[in-house]
């Protein structure tokens, strides 16, 4: 294939993904290796961001953002009353929704198994022997 594919995988999605190889107990979070990153403009929705934050693993998000160099000024610890802090919400929105990994790999922290990002989509299918 001559054309290169783009995957769109947001850090928000990455925060929910885990390795499900058989026998793995510590498959989260997946290590993110990005070769190509793009920043896209997404409509800012403060209510959405405020409600998503408690559902996230904040440390995993910080790690992933740092590993691809897009942490910015995002605080490492969640401050109290972040829901009303518009500036913080905007930064969180940017890191969660607007930074998109274009090509790369997701690596299981326990087994080292790499899930490739091919044809624009992360391929999380397991082989026969891994199930």
């Amino acid at each position: 294939m001559l054309l290169s594919f783009r995957t769109i995988m947001r850090l928000l999605t990455h925060n929910m993904l885990t390795s499900h190889v058989k026998g793995v107990t510590n498959g989260y979070p997946l290590k993110l290796q990005a070769e190509n990153i793009k920043v896209m403009s997404v409509d800012f929705n403060p209510e959405f961001v405020a409600r998503m934050i408690p559902k996230l693993e904040w440390q995993a998000l910080i790690q992933a953002a740092e590993s691809i160099g897009h942490l910015g000024d995002l605080p490492r610890e969640l401050m109290p009353e972040y829901e009303s802090n518009e500036e913080f919400l905007k930064m969180a929105h940017h890191v969660l929704m607007e930074v998109e990994v274009i090509e790369g790999n997701l690596e299981c922290p326990e087994t080292g198994r790499k899930f490739p990002i091919k044809n624009g989509i992360p391929n999380m299918l397991l082989n026969e022997d891994e199930v």
Partner: protein, 594 residues
């Protein structure tokens, strides 16, 4: 009466406060959901009929308001609706048909035509599409070509605005791909592009409306010789055998029209074609509009059901259910049904919505457009499905980018639905269209698939607040699977709908409070039973728990009390009798003996 030309009407005929009556078709079974949507968005009272709903709305701004309705398929404005006593039983065919011819004069066409003109915008520039839809088939061997096409679209998504024209051409390209296994040997890859001179279309099937179950046949033939009518044309010419010049050489102000007639509910003495012919004849004579069956501007719909006659003008040129999707898969779901399912799921802001078997991504895309305060995850295991979803998303993103809007909050992955690579309790709502086993998959395979799906969804879904909305035709399989997992999912509602002739059902489930156990008792039992059947001696049998180590005896697990009562919970939810059947299921008693 002077011949009614559209330009002459203007908007002064209808006042802003005047009410116009809208009649809309809906997928059979979802009338209640559509009614709720209209009542919520427009605040008017809605009347339900089988496969359609009707409501009044003030003329002011109505076009904008009804365009925001997303569960309706075809929209019409009602000209007249009345009951003609004895229509069904009248055996004098000629008299009845003459009556249809004369009916035209009795209506006030002004408000309806005015509403039509406002809704459709410019007239007479855009004639309607041909009535019969042509399905274009794609051979399965051309998968690589198809994937390449998707690649183009996806890579263009991040490209600069300089290739705008290319984007627009791509958007205008309507390629309906359907991988019908039966016809894979004979079909060719074909694309139909508006504005391009080359057009190769292989007509295969005419699309027939099945929502109301009535055959949709319509012709209008101005058969002057056999017309029983007397001279009714306006300029006093004698037109028994010749067509008046005013009708033949229509000026730019007279809209071309066709009459579509649906007849049912009784054994009338006439056919729908007869009625359409005479009614159209009346319009042609009285209003002076010329006839064109394929490139029409106005479509007049004449519905006859028993003694009830309704005359309407169609507002939408094609059904609204084909919006959003450019690249159709073999089982793409209608956007109107998708929207109804999202409403059933009661999606809230800040939730994670997941479609683990997305196909062409219809559900996530409609969700991303209409419920933008959520994250929509879509996934599939098929190699064609993910690129197709991405291409559909990219097409919409390109359009939105050009109009200055942000991209859709939708992500696509490739995964196995029975082994989702998601953490426990991360998803709020699962919405999916499960394989029926007809066009995709098999009834046999469904047993395994549905079990694994329901199981893993229970692990990933949030306890007690999470829900699932599943659409399937294989109700027997899903019912059985749900009773097996009734400690994890409770059935709130089952809605029966008719999809293209198939009796499908939408299941609304709620995740119970019970945590996802290490292994499930009945699965262990059934696996031991299987091994016994196979003749493996007892000492060598293994219990096959799901994720736990082998050989663990069952007795330890039986002591676990479940906090919630298993069973089926059927809520009434305001459902009325005339629109859906409901099942009564008794709770299944658990077999706790070893």
């Amino acid at each position: 009466m002077a011949s009614l030309d559209v330009e002459g009407i203007g908007c002064c005929v209808v006042q802003n406060e005047d009410l116009i009556r809208i009649d809309a078709t809906v997928t059979s079974g979802l009338e209640q959901i559509a009614k709720e949507e209209v009542e919520e968005k427009l605040g008017t009272k809605v009347v339900k009929r089988r496969g359609r709903i009707r409501f009044d709305t003030p003329y002011k701004d109505f076009a904008h308001k009804i365009q925001s309705l997303r569960t309706l398929e075809n929209l019409h404005v009602v000209v007249a609706d009345f009951e003609k006593e004895g229509l069904a039983t009248d055996s004098d065919k000629d008299a009845v048909l003459k009556h249809f011819y004369q009916l035209v004069k009795t209506f006030d066409w002004g408000p309806a035509v005015c509403a039509w003109k406002t809704f459709t915008g410019a007239f007479p520039h855009e004639p309607g599409p041909p009535k019969k839809k042509q399905k274009i088939q794609d051979s399965a061997k051309d998968t690589s070509k198809m994937l390449e096409r998707y690649e183009n679209i996806i890579s263009r998504e991040d490209g600069p605005d300089s290739d705008k024209t290319q984007d627009e051409a791509a958007d205008r390209t309507e390629s309906v791909l359907s991988e019908d296994a039966q016809d894979s040997g004979t079909a060719k890859v074909v694309t139909q592009e508006k504005g391009m001179s080359k057009m190769e279309i292989f007509p295969l099937q005419a699309d027939t409306q099945t929502s109301s179950g009535i055959q949709n046949v319509a012709t209008i033939v101005k058969d002057k010789a056999s017309s029983p009518c007397t001279n009714l044309s306006t300029d006093g010419q004698d037109d028994t055998n010749t067509v008046p010049a005013a009708v033949e050489n229509h000026g730019p102000l007279k809209p071309k029209f066709r009459v579509t007639c649906n007849r049912g509910g009784a054994k009338h003495s006439f056919t729908s074609m007869d009625a359409a012919r005479h009614f159209g004849g009346g319009i042609n004579d009285d209003l002076g509009w010329p006839v064109d069956l394929t490139k029409f501007d106005i479509e007049v719909v004449l519905n006859i059901y028993g003694d009830q006659v309704t005359v309407m003008i169609a507002l939408t040129k094609g059904s609204l259910h084909r919006r959003n999707i450019q690249h159709f898969g073999p089982t793409t779901l209608r956007s109107t049904i998708v929207n109804s399912m999202l409403r059933i799921a009661n999606v809230q802001a800040g939730e994670v919505i997941c479609d683990p078997m997305c196909g062409s991504g219809a559900i996530s895309i409609e969700g991303g457009l209409d419920f933008r305060q959520c994250l929509h995850l879509s996934g599939d295991n098929h190699e064609c499905a993910c690129p197709r979803t991405r291409a559909n998303i990219a097409t919409i993103n390109n359009q939105r980018r050009r109009s200055g809007q942000g991209v859709l909050p939708v992500d696509t992955l490739r995964w196995d639905v029975g082994n989702l690579p998601l953490r426990d309790e991360t998803v709020d709502v699962f919405i999916t269209d499960m394989p029926f086993g007809k066009r995709h998959g098999s009834k046999q395979g469904n047993w395994e698939l549905y079990r694994r799906t329901v199981r893993d969804m229970a692990r990933v879904c949030r306890y007690s607040t999470g829900r699932a909305v599943l659409l399937t035709e294989d109700k027997k399989c899903l019912n059985k699977v749900l009773t097996e997992y009734d400690s994890l999912w409770s059935k709130k509602l089952v809605l029966f709908i008719k999809m293209g002739g198939l009796d499908a059902a939408i299941y609304q489930l709620k995740r119970t409070n019970n945590p996802f156990p290490k292994f499930l008792e009945h699965e262990l039992l059934s696996s031991k039973r299987k091994q016994k059947k196979m003749g493996i001696p007892r000492s060598e049998r293994v219990g096959e728990p799901i994720t736990e180590q082998l050989g663990e005896p069952i007795t330890e697990q039986l002591g676990e009390p479940f906090t919630e009562q298993p069973g089926v919970n059927m809520g009434e939810e305001g459902m009325e009798e005339n629109f859906g059947k409901q099942t009564e299921e008794t709770p299944v008693s658990r077999d706790t003996s070893t």
